[in-house]
Symmetry: D2
Subunit: 419 residues, 4 copies
């Protein structure tokens, strides 16, 4: 039976608490870089979203928890007013974590009042609540992504979770799955939730192409490194070469050279790099350079989506409470002509810069700022990673980050032109 | 009769001298910002290109003019060796302008020796010479673009040319020219010169769309400014808003508020802004914000190219020795269902980020660095401006600049989705 | 009876805990700017000092609490090894506050073992312990200074302490106390503790001068502001003008314009500015500009010290557990020919850049880095503030900060030349 | 017979032309870093000084050459109005060099009109003209200093002058010249020209000290380098260590490691470093680190001036038209108890930060900005270099630069405390 919106709300809100469980109060305060946010901020910002876009609009007599929070926890909605500077989220010790939990409870209780209403009254705000739920799920992924970054910067190298975290390997040499040319339909269909940037569904023409049948592994990436991949400008986009040189990149983020090989930071702490697992935490620039070195290229997002049509999106994700290891029948089974590891392993950099689909219209009002205004100088990632929420694992989901971003769980799939 | 490669070479090389004619020695030394280059550098760099890629390869016993120039005048070819830092081109007083002219003559004489050879021997290097010619033409446009920037920064506001420079106006209200959906062919066909990034010709699918039948005028852009266009974040891409606020943009580059209205810097010095002329020197961010304000959007480069098929590319350009005013039958004639002002007025920002065409292959060797490695975080411009070379005015030419660039002669054409 | 070194140790160590008492765990983690440090870091760094310079040297079998702390909590001692980057202290969530307290207890217990030894053995390390105690007292002042800065940045404006914090006012118009020319002796004499930079005692010649008999008040400083003090470059040092313009200074740090006048952040939260209280949180540049506007100048540190000879240093300070309000018989009594408010009100900027005294010799080893290596581009402050430790309030103490620093409790005393 | 003010004016103005003689037009336009200025700017700015402070005030009917020049060639006089941004002097191609020469002639002719007047009328402005002359002499030194920097940055390494430029060596091991304690008089006496910052003459007390009897040589400095002087933080001021690491200092400015030893850029081009010549182009930070390594320290400016009393200031300087080699009886003669090489070899870093003398009063009006407002975060240099003007070589002259400045002709003299 389909989960009600109230049930979804409760489940997702509770997961945020579960994900914060392993963290000390101190962990929830720090911001390791301007792109990352403190856990405390994620918890409060997602709550502010419901308060601002649902409760204030829908619930008569709703009492705002603290008017100052509108300034502190607005991320980028210009239409809603001024905002606290993003790079300074980590200098805020107040509200405390305890106050943040109280804020969440205050909002959750008011939401229950809303959910207890019936009929048309409820339907009216369901779509906003649904966006809020998906919004919180996005921040759950960021919460894990950001705390990994903070822990990696700490010389004490704390572990978020106990036990070894392993990415699932797929056996065998890389094979190619070919696709014929023709007009394809891209973008979200009417059924189920999607963000505005996945619409409208539209036609594209694809020339013949092929995709690698699995993600690039750490072992393959090591071969690129051993072949002086980081020292050969001819392999790199010019802007990528500049940033790689300027920041001294020599390996994926979180990798460290040890006496006996490479080690890397994971949510379970430091461990050795495994040759067979998918490489992760590379930038678009590194993914692009690797692809050039390997004689291929990155897929466009249209190619990726068109190819993913028959690939099931099952896996294990954040909601399971265990973001790893992914049980992966996908990994072991026969490829059978479809690419594997498309969902829930690592976000896959595409060669497409993030721009609107033909006919795209952002919603009116503040929620129109959700996606559209970021459509410059970002590249699209597809598929979802091991820390993505289950419901974000879909064929049409468009994630996007600047080409130098490395702290996301981002990996590489190859493509090539076919005759 | 078709111009021989030697004739083309002589004509283009001479034009560089002609364009430098109005400049004092001092003007040819300065660099007004890291993105711009001194005139002297343009003159030497284009010469170095022929020396390095043609003479050293083809002419036995060719004597390099000065080995140090390889370091000084290499712009970005990693394969050819290390380079002098771009932002510091303006601190080099030597070689002097006189030495630079001698360098040009040295290379021109050696080129003549090559041209005097016959048959297969010559054909072998013709394609490289052709690239060098087009390369020098690109730098002729930059030479004018860069000196305009330098003169605009100088409080004395020198004029490059005498007489008033006027952009050609097109009469009447903006009309829309509609195009139906379907598969179109995009990219350069076999005939004539093209850069690698214009190839291969390939198919795309276009949903129904319409283009404005002329460029946006200064008067229309003033209406956007008067409607607080620069103060309303909801009109802007997020990154554009940040740069506009950070740099205090209030109008197009080169515009200045005077007591009696707006004035602007031109190659002919300061003059008042004319309402009917096309707006120029706007960034992609401004073009995009204007389009959103006007209820439209920017065309994709595919839409633009598909729409330009029947538009003639006649005009007056740099080669004429007069980069203005453009005699413009185009402007006055009846629109007749085709957009006007597509060629030679102002570069038109498209909404497409600059990425390779399907099947794109850069040439091998150093010339492979010409275009491909810049394919991130830039937007495509189409059409050519009043300072573009005649032979660069073609349907498939892909110009590209970062979205914040304003010092190019870049303007706005609107597009919209059709039902 | 003189306090033993062990008693001093216990008293000062306990005060650090007392001072941390009002803080939430979250407060102890944040770093509001590169110059400031988290409370947690102050608590651990002062502990690391005893561990490194006393316990490791003196106590056989001492077990280091955590070897990684040497990297995390070394502030600037190059001789002791590499250090964690200062600007990134606020990204460290671990060790937690609780671990930090355990670290302190671990070290305190080992120190007690040392203290239980007798005779020559103990004397040998007493001087290092004494430095460690004074070092921790310096960090107690910084702890308060830094948390004030962090709270001031937080839009919620938390208060560190309850109740109104008032700086003590001195009644009456500013009077001048004159001093004759002659040779004076400056620097620490043999008795009591002093830092190396206060030695050796030496002779200076002073031309005739006079000092203001009290600190400049907020009311007087407001007159400077009202007279366009922040808009008149002729009043400012050139470097000061640049920083004031660049950072938009319009008033002392922590002042905010309200509808009904100026308000300011204190350790007790926001409150209105009082005209009679000493102005505080001004930079050297502001103090110097004020003095020029007022027709005077800042005193040199030699003038200040020579004038302070007969001024008693009693007051109330951090050790009292109440850093405010200062009971101030000093303030109310007749001036009697001596400047008042010299000790324990606000650090007084002098016109002297911080350089070594003639004959100065830093100690050998790591402690030689304590003071000497900071002797460039800083100005000396004298006297001590309301958050200074009692034992740092002495005639020869040399505090020093860069001329743009404002977050210290720094105020203004005038001087002038006499005929 | 004493040179008249008009004769001085003509001589100094002509020297600026002579010094510009070896330069190409292009050389006179470039600015190699924000601290340096183009030759053209030096020539115009010194002319603007006479126009603004003398002609506009004194000569009825004087016609300003170009009103825009007041904006372009004001260096830092806030009282005179707004200024063109210093770091952008090198982007100005206009006025051209030829226009600048015409500007100079225009002003020189008007000055002659003034000089032709007689008696009281002339005396009234003589002191301003005298400042203007000394001001131009300061810029003559900067002209040479700045063009050396520009040529050193140019990979072609042009030479300003033909022939080898040699700094004069002093034979023998370093000896110490001791001075007793006591009250000394420091500062300019009534006779002859001096800048305001050299006054008033006042008393200081000096503890016993000694000075090295000559400058530190390149050979001695090489011993410091070979002893890892640039890798040992304990030798450095903390701020110096940071800048040395941040900028990768490994040797004095202009030194380059060659296969067969060290070479350096001079005004005569590149040549090998000579062990016996004085080391030059070191920062205060390097001078201070060297002194610490050598077991000494830098002299204070009071010590330096007190010691220089009996040292003659003869030498060869810019006015001779040959800024080198310095004929140096000073160098070869017996030391006879006085330090040698105090004047005209290299500016000598002192350990004194640049602050006003007791009783210092800047002049009123714009010329009050000449010296006083730079009195923070600079160190005093004494003695004058081989490119200083003859009349700037005096016992009381106070030069000043930030401690990281290296492009001046700055060297090292040791001092030490005596018992």
């Amino acid at each position: 039976m389909k989960e009600s919106i109230a049930e979804q709300y409760r489940r997702v809100r509770e997961l945020s608490e579960t994900l914060s469980g392993p963290l000390a109060t101190e962990d929830m305060v720090v911001q390791s870089m301007p792109d990352a946010s403190p856990t405390k901020w994620h918890l409060a910002h997602t709550t502010w979203f419901f308060e601002t876009f649902v409760l204030v609009e829908e619930l008569a007599n709703y009492e705002i928890f603290d008017p100052a929070f509108a300034f502190l926890f607005n991320s980028y909605y210009n239409a809603v007013g001024p905002r606290h500077s993003r790079p300074h989220r980590g200098v805020l010790s107040r509200p405390t974590v305890e106050q943040t939990w109280r804020y969440r409870r205050h909002v959750d209780e008011a939401m229950e009042t809303l959910f207890s209403r019936e009929g048309a009254e409820q339907e009216r705000f369901e779509s906003i609540v649904e966006i809020g739920i998906h919004h919180e799920q996005q921040h759950q992924e960021l919460l894990l992504t950001d705390i990994k970054h903070a822990f990696a910067l700490n010389p004490l190298r704390p572990a978020y979770s106990e036990g070894r975290i392993t990415k699932v390997a797929v056996a065998g040499a890389l094979a190619w799955v070919a696709f014929e040319s023709g007009v394809r339909r891209i973008g979200h269909e009417i059924e189920g939730f999607a963000f505005d940037n996945e619409t409208p569904r539209h036609r594209v023409f694809l020339e013949p192409y092929a995709l690698g049948d699995r993600l690039i592994t750490c072992g393959e990436y090591l071969a690129f490194m051993d072949d002086s991949g980081y020292e050969r400008p001819e392999l790199w986009l010019s802007a990528g070469w500049d940033v790689a040189q300027g920041q001294g990149w020599q390996a994926p983020l979180y990798w460290e050279r040890a006496d006996d090989g490479w080690r890397m930071m994971t949510l379970g702490g430091m461990r050795e790099v495994e040759a067979a697992e998918p490489v992760c935490h590379v930038s678009l620039f590194e993914a692009d350079a690797y692809a050039r070195w390997a004689g291929g290229r990155l897929p466009t997002e249209d190619e990726w989506e068109a190819a993913s049509g028959n690939v099931p999106t099952e896996g294990c994700f954040v909601e399971s409470g265990r973001f790893h290891p992914c049980p992966d029948a996908r990994g072991d089974g026969p490829a059978g002509g479809i690419p594997r590891q498309m969902f829930g392993d690592a976000w896959e950099w595409t060669g497409s810069q993030y721009r609107p689909y033909p006919g795209y219209q952002p919603p009116s009002g503040a929620l129109g700022e959700y996606n559209g205004k970021f459509m410059s100088n970002q590249f699209v990632l597809r598929g979802g990673s091991c820390v993505s929420s289950r419901t974000h694992i879909r064929h049409t989901y468009r994630n996007f980050f600047p080409p130098e971003a490395r702290w996301q769980f981002s990996g590489i799939r190859l493509a090539r032109d076919e005759a």
